[in-house]
């Protein structure tokens, strides 16, 4: 047996085994999520959220929304947050050293005055320049914090220090929440008396092409542009299938930074958000879980399949590339920071299942895919393998990806059915067919660039320019 044959066999069979393992994981996730969604929907049909809305014993929640140069929409965004249906609430907007007129606009619109507020720096942060409250009783829930620029994680940590309530809900200030989003997010914290729920996440949906009026989403539309539409499909797969299955396993490692609720006490004990990583959302969840495992306290990270939060997805390859590059770096940094848990039985499911899955199938997947594809092309060109085998392998992967996407669309139709028209569903199916040719290779390439940037120690956040939501026209 020549060395070429050995190398070739290693690549061919190695890649095949890896692909089969990855696809098996996806199949398991798809199937396992069904039970969790079904149980949730059945239980939810008995839930009257008015109980929570009207109760004086509802858990107290602080919404933390960092804002940097959001002057264009800040007034409407804050108004949207203040209109959320929840009694026991404070809304904390953290102006992270914006260079625009965000603060002046807020002071004027909400009649704010600077208070004498003692900031207890339980988590070290950049300096707070001022804490503002409104003179108007109608805005009594609102607290505006002005601070030196320190990035999103630092801004959120200031919010944690300022907040007075039991739970914190961290959101991106430009996200649009469903009216009952907090009620739904708060409920899991009350449901289990034996296990402490340390964090809860909900489904995030893409708001491009949807109609927004006075900070509220009034009509759901499937995005007209290809990139946001393919991300719609991607989010359905990730949230409705992936996170529900991981939630059922109690192995969820990520609650999106755009919208998630956390037990404030545990967040403080863990030291808050890490501002040395661009994946601060995932890192916090992993650190909280690690803390609970080390303390040997039974805990859960919960996830609910209801669409609770709508956000604008990148519509250009440039912005999408930056976002995926950052996500990749965030994942690797988090895995590096907590490498002690890798196949460490001391950390239970976290160390033996969740961490290895993220290592092999989230971090390594784009690298394996990229290198595998490159190697196969070289082997085909060198005549070491037949091109029909190469095409067969690609079609095999493609057909599975398409099947998985169609399954996700079916689950969406059977559950929340946000995109009701047949035309929208047809568009989603066509998008699922096209995704492997356009979107997926780009995402893989962005992940590779993320790996390279991390090796070069580039740690920029990457500017996220948004187009703004479609407003209702009269």
């Amino acid at each position: 047996m020549s060395w070429q044959t050995i190398v070739l066999d290693f690549f061919t069979y190695g890649l095949l085994i890896y692909s089969i393992l990855l696809l098996s994981c996806y199949m398991f996730i798809g199937g396992y999520s069904i039970g969790e969604i079904r149980t949730y929907l059945r239980k939810n049909s008995f839930t009257d959220y008015r109980v929570l809305a009207s109760s004086t014993q509802a858990p107290s929640i602080s919404i933390l929304a960092p804002a940097y140069n959001e002057g264009a929409n800040i007034i409407e965004n804050v108004r949207s947050l203040l209109s959320i249906n929840y009694n026991n609430l404070e809304v904390i907007i953290i102006n992270d050293g914006s260079k625009d007129d965000s603060l002046e606009k807020l002071i004027s619109a909400y009649d704010l005055y600077k208070t004498d507020f003692f900031v207890n720096k339980r988590i070290p942060t950049k300096d707070v320049l001022g804490v503002y409250k409104s003179r108007k009783a109608v805005y009594k829930k609102l607290i505006i914090v002005d601070k030196q620029n320190g990035g999103k994680a630092d801004a959120l940590n200031v919010g944690v220090n300022i907040s007075q309530n039991d739970y914190i809900v961290c959101i991106d200030v430009d996200c649009i929440l469903e009216q009952d989003a907090l009620l739904k997010l708060a409920k899991p914290f009350l449901e289990d008396s034996k296990i402490r729920v340390i964090a809860t996440g909900g489904v995030i949906r893409i708001a491009n092409s949807c109609i927004v009026e006075n900070g509220r989403l009034v009509k759901v539309n499937l995005p007209k542009q290809f990139l946001p539409r393919v991300q719609t499909l991607e989010y359905i797969r990730a949230f409705l299938l992936g996170r529900m299955a991981w939630s059922r396993l109690n192995g969820l490692l990520l609650i999106s930074g755009a919208f998630g609720a956390f037990d404030r006490d545990i967040v403080i004990k863990c030291g808050g958000y890490n501002h040395n990583t661009v994946g601060e959302d995932m890192e916090l969840v992993v650190r909280m879980r690690r803390y609970m495992e080390e303390q040997k306290v039974p805990y859960k990270v919960s996830f609910i399949p209801d669409p609770l939060c709508w956000t604008e997805a990148p519509a250009s390859f440039k912005i999408l590339g930056r976002q995926r590059n950052r996500w990749t770096r965030g994942t690797i940094e988090t895995l590096q920071l907590h490498k002690v848990m890798f196949f460490n039985p001391k950390y239970g499911r976290l160390g033996m299942i969740s961490y290895p899955y993220w290592f092999f199938f989230e971090f390594l997947a784009p690298i394996v895919e990229f290198l595998g594809l490159l190697s196969f092309v070289i082997f085909v060109l060198l005549g070491l393998i037949h091109w029909s085998f190469f095409i067969g392998l690609l079609l095999f992967i493609f057909s599975f990806g398409f099947l998985y996407s169609v399954f996700a669309i079916l689950m969406e139709v059977l559950t929340y059915n946000q995109y009701k028209s047949s035309k929208d569903l047809l568009m989603l199916i066509i998008t699922a067919f096209l995704e492997p040719f356009i979107f997926h290779p780009f995402v893989v390439w962005s992940a590779i660039k993320g790996n390279i940037d991390l090796l070069r120690k580039k740690n920029s956040w990457g500017e996220m320019t948004r187009q703004g939501f479609t407003k209702k026209t009269v």
Binding site: S55, T115, F118, L425
Partner: protein, 354 residues
């Protein structure tokens, strides 16, 4: 290659099947939606007839007129489910004669038999539906059947059974607290309290017994009942809960004592501070802020030296709110002009001004 081809065919075939299934499902659902709309108007008409049954001069003994078509539709399980859903929703929102008429209609259509069948299926989500119907329709004759489910292993079944028992027997229904071994979640406690809030308050007995329950969640719930319904006679039992082994019980006891208190409650709470865990210490300071008096100032002053800033803030808040002497004592405190006490006092002063 054959392996790939077979899988390829399988995956594409499965995708095509799912698309076909989805299309068929949507078409059927569209058809059903039209049917549901028709049924809705039929059911609404029937409900209107039932609600105003006595006003049309009909005797209470007479049955509510039901069309033959509706009777035929009753054989259809989907129609029956839709009808039951609307009848129970109407019953929840109506009281007096209208509510009684809805119940009469429910029984006349034998829907209670179907509710029992649901309970007998053994499937938790169907059992819960059946139990909920029995409770909403106030069918007291089924108490024995429902009561045993109040300690069922399935949380939804036992939650619905507990609510149903309250619906049937009001405060007396709370006797399930004597026997339950499973924990009452915070969510369930909130639902029970909400249910109780719309029931006329009569002669609530048994709290003293529940305060001594081995089930910690029952003790917590009993403390909430004592607080909400102002059971001052249970003061000693509530104070005894401050020494309970479970932290959640002690926390709730502190909250309850901010509503049910005597002259020496704040002293008793302050006695507990050195023995308590951090969160309960903060809860005690909040309670003392509300119910304490000048006599507590020296004890509070003793806590000012704490290194924990959250605690320091709570102590200052309590002292400042008790009386002007509290504020004077704070200002005279040696560290009151330096960080962090100076900043804390400034904040508390501004809170009092607001």
């Amino acid at each position: 290659m054959i392996f790939f081809q077979a899988l390829l065919l399988f995956f594409f075939g499965a995708a095509a099947f799912l698309i076909f299934f989805m299309t068929a499902y949507l078409l059927i659902r569209k058809k059903w939606r039209k049917k549901y709309a028709k049924w809705d108007s039929m059911i609404d008409l029937l409900l209107r007839k039932a609600i105003f049954f006595n006003e049309s001069g009909s005797s209470a003994d007479q049955p509510i007129p039901v069309t033959p078509r509706l009777r035929v539709n009753l054989e259809n399980s989907r129609f029956r489910a839709q009808l039951t859903k609307k009848i129970t929703a109407a019953k929840k929102n109506m009281s007096g004669q209208a509510g009684q008429n809805i119940k009469k209609l429910y029984l006349q259509l034998d829907l209670d038999t179907h509710a029992i069948k649901l309970i007998e299926t053994g499937k938790w989500h169907l059992m819960a539906v059946g139990i909920q119907q029995i409770g909403t329709m106030e069918l007291k004759e089924h108490l024995a059947r429902i009561y045993r489910f109040t300690n069922n292993k399935n949380e939804l079944v036992r939650a619905e059974a507990q609510l149903a028992v309250l619906n049937l027997f009001g405060f007396e229904g709370l006797r399930f607290l004597d026997v339950i071994t499973y924990q009452l979640s915070e969510w369930q406690q909130m639902k029970l309290l909400k249910e109780l809030s719309v029931i006329p308050h009569v002669n609530l007995t048994g709290i003293d017994k529940w305060l001594k329950s081995e089930n910690a969640s029952v003790v917590v719930f009993a403390l909430k009942l004592a607080r909400n319904y102002h059971h001052f006679e249970l003061y000693q039992e509530i104070v005894a809960c401050l020494e309970h082994l479970e932290s959640s019980v002690r926390t709730q006891a502190i909250y309850t004592l901010t509503e049910i208190y005597s002259e020496d409650t704040s002293k008793k709470l302050l006695d507990r501070v050195p023995l308590e865990e951090y969160n309960n210490q903060l809860a005690i300071l909040k309670a003392v802020k509300k119910i304490g008096d000048e006599a507590d100032l020296p004890r509070l002053q003793g806590l000012l030296n704490t290194e924990d800033l959250e605690m320091k803030l709570s102590v200052v808040r309590a002292m400042a709110s008790l009386s002007q002497s509290g504020m004077d004592l704070l200002m005279a405190w040696p560290q009151s002009q330096s960080y962090p006490l100076k900043e804390i006092i400034t904040q508390v002063k501004s809170e009092i001004r607001v």
